[in-house]
């Protein structure tokens, strides 16, 4: 402090003291020695302002420093602990070791206006390719020994063939569907749908670590779990109409999957949320759970679905395809077709139900872009495909892969094999098993 400052400070102090004494003194006079004492004390205190400030700041800094240190320690501890938590690769490794799985599946379908429809299933899976799901009549049935069941679905899957039996106890009726997968290529690329009846945990191994995101930790049934979020390839789902977002929670220490949830919008615009909980891995299962047996006296409806995957297949020379808005010049012609990639036929023998026949074609990128641009600019315009000047059909543009279009050709009344023979450059050999 300079001399000038000290002088100013002293005169200011004296002025303040006099004003205080005048205001606060009830008696006419205060003894001079008392005034001098107060003045000296005030001067003494005023002469050491820095040391007083330093002392008070120190008191403020200590708790702050302690808090920061504690936070740092906690962060280090948390990080160290997290780094020990399972990684996606660990989860996949655990899934590789799975042979059986049981769980509860809860499916919430926000169908139309009003409350969402919720269904509860008990699900069983066993390698290779066996699954069973039981739909309860009501949630109250979940916890009783002999629950009333609305639907039992049993699925036995092999490489190129699948048998699906649906039993409806209330109606004493069974639906038996046989699905056959064929290709003219070297191998099938078919991936079974991931749904309540056919969750295939091996499919999760197709999700690479870089496609997942850690979403934190939480307790599930008293077990600490680590969460991963990722987008499921849409071709896993038959009816998904947009992004399929999944969350998978695995045990923090052992990597066992504890909870799976996925959400998507189906082709009807309904939001579907599926949760798998109470998951038990590698528990022994009764073999007869997967027997394809229809109880005596029940009626049976049979259907056969044939799915064909085509490689290097196109339309025969002279075939004409034109796709575009109704009554206007086509945006896509035969030359824009990169290939015929898929065919599907559903038949129901012994019924009057006509076969469903559908084919899927892939377009060249520039043709896809033309269609997309037009559809974006004219959202209400109906796109129509003229199939070889024989029939006009509306292509489905909502397939998982944006470069493909599919057509329902049921009205032609031709089987898939007949369509191949007439219009495709290759056919698939069909051998009855």
């Amino acid at each position: 402090m300079t001399d000038t400052d000290r002088s100013n400070y002293q005169s200011c102090l004296d002025g303040n003291l006099d004003r205080l004494l005048q205001l606060g003194e009830p008696t006419p006079r205060m003894p001079e020695n008392l005034k001098a004492f107060i003045r000296s004390r005030l001067t003494e205190v005023g002469a050491k302002p820095e040391s007083k400030n330093i002392l008070s700041r120190k008191w403020a800094v200590w708790p702050l420093a302690a808090t920061v240190m504690t936070a740092l320690v906690l962060i280090v501890l948390w990080y160290g602990n997290s780094s020990k938590a399972v990684a996606w690769a660990d989860v996949q490794e655990r899934l590789e070791q799975v042979r059986t799985m049981t769980c509860m599946a809860r499916i919430e379908n926000s169908a139309t206006a009003g409350n969402p429809i919720t269904e509860m299933f008990k699900v069983y899976h066993q390698d290779p390719g066996l699954s069973r799901s039981e739909l309860y009549v009501s949630d109250a049935d979940i916890h009783i020994d002999e629950p009333r069941l609305k639907l039992i679905s049993i699925n036995r899957r092999k490489h190129d063939r699948e048998e699906l039996l649906r039993l409806f106890p209330g109606a004493r009726r069974a639906e038996w569907e046989t699905r056959i997968f064929r290709t003219n290529g070297r191998e099938l690329h078919y991936a079974p749908a991931v749904d309540r009846a056919a969750v295939n945990w091996k499919l999760f191994n197709q999700i690479t670590a870089d496609k997942t995101r850690r979403i934190g930790e939480r307790m599930i049934n008293g077990v600490s779990a680590v969460g991963f979020e990722f987008d499921v390839p849409r071709q896993w789902y038959i009816d998904a109409f947009g992004k399929v977002r999944a969350q998978l929670w695995a045990g923090h220490d052992d990597g066992n999957v504890l909870f799976i949830e996925w959400n998507y919008r189906n082709a009807l615009g309904q939001n579907v949320k599926t949760e798998l909980s109470d998951i038990q891995w590698n528990a022994p299962l009764e073999a007869n759970l997967f027997d394809l047996v229809v109880p005596d006296g029940w009626s049976i409806g049979r259907s056969e679905t044939e799915s064909a995957e085509y490689v290097n297949t196109g339309f025969v020379p002279g075939f004409i395809l034109q796709i575009g808005p109704e009554g206007r010049e086509p945006l896509v012609i035969t030359g824009d077709v990169a290939g015929v990639v898929k065919g599907e036929q559903v038949t129901r023998p012994d019924t009057g139900i006509p076969s469903e026949v559908r084919i899927t074609i892939q377009l060249k990128p520039e043709a896809v872009q033309r269609l997309r641009d037009y559809a974006n600019a004219n959202p209400d315009a109906l796109i129509v495909a003229d199939f070889n000047r024989q029939i006009k059909v509306v292509p489905s543009l909502t397939a998982a892969d944006s470069s493909v279009l599919s057509f329902d050709l049921s009205v032609l009344d031709l089987s898939l094999a007949e369509l191949e023979q007439r219009y495709f450059t290759t056919t698939i050999e069909r051998k009855r098993p």
Binding site: R173, L268, G301, P354, E356, I391, V394, T398, V411
Partner: protein, 164 residues
């Protein structure tokens, strides 16, 4: 004796007639031309709304609640656009599946594309049996009339709506 012979002859004639009649009826029945043809059921699909619409007609809605529903004055689809219909297994009951003609399929696609989020009324003989919401464009010309039916009911409707 003469009378007896005559009576015998008459009996033979009647028997022969009955046998011929039975054969004729069987043949007609096999050809689907008997008098037991299914009764024709009028099928219509119209735009519908649960809110009052000017120029639209209010009729009892579907299901047990019978809430009134307003239906468009024009039918978007009628029996003429139905190519085939059949009883379709549907969960623990049956519905009526139908396949539209080429023109019918285009009409349904046009209607559903431009009215997503709205309702359609499926009507049989002027009565609304279901009123689903249009969730997306329907391509392919294949649809269902749902209504917790048994197989016989579904078959009867399927046959009735496709009588030409």
């Amino acid at each position: 004796m003469t009378i007896h012979r005559k009576t015998k002859k008459q009996y033979l004639t009647i028997c022969a007639f009955l046998v011929l009649a039975a054969l004729f009826t069987t043949a007609l029945s096999a050809a689907g031309l008997s008098g037991d043809q299914p009764r024709r059921i009028r099928f219509e699909l119209r735009l519908a709304s649960y809110e009052k619409m000017d120029g639209w007609k209010s009729v009892p809605g579907p299901y047990a609640a019978k809430t009134d529903i307003w239906i468009s004055p024009e039918a978007a689809l009628t029996n003429a656009e139905l190519a085939r219909a059949w009883p379709q297994p549907d969960g623990d009951g049956f519905s009526v599946g139908f396949l539209l003609t080429e023109e019918g399929a285009l009409k349904l696609a046009r209607l559903t594309k431009s009215h997503v989020g709205e309702f359609v009324a499926l009507m049989l003989d002027g009565r609304v049996v279901s009123a689903p919401k249009i969730m997306a464009e329907i391509t392919g010309g294949r649809a269902f009339i749902q209504g917790k039916l048994n197989e016989e009911e579904a078959r009867s409707i399927a046959e009735g709506i496709t009588v030409k």
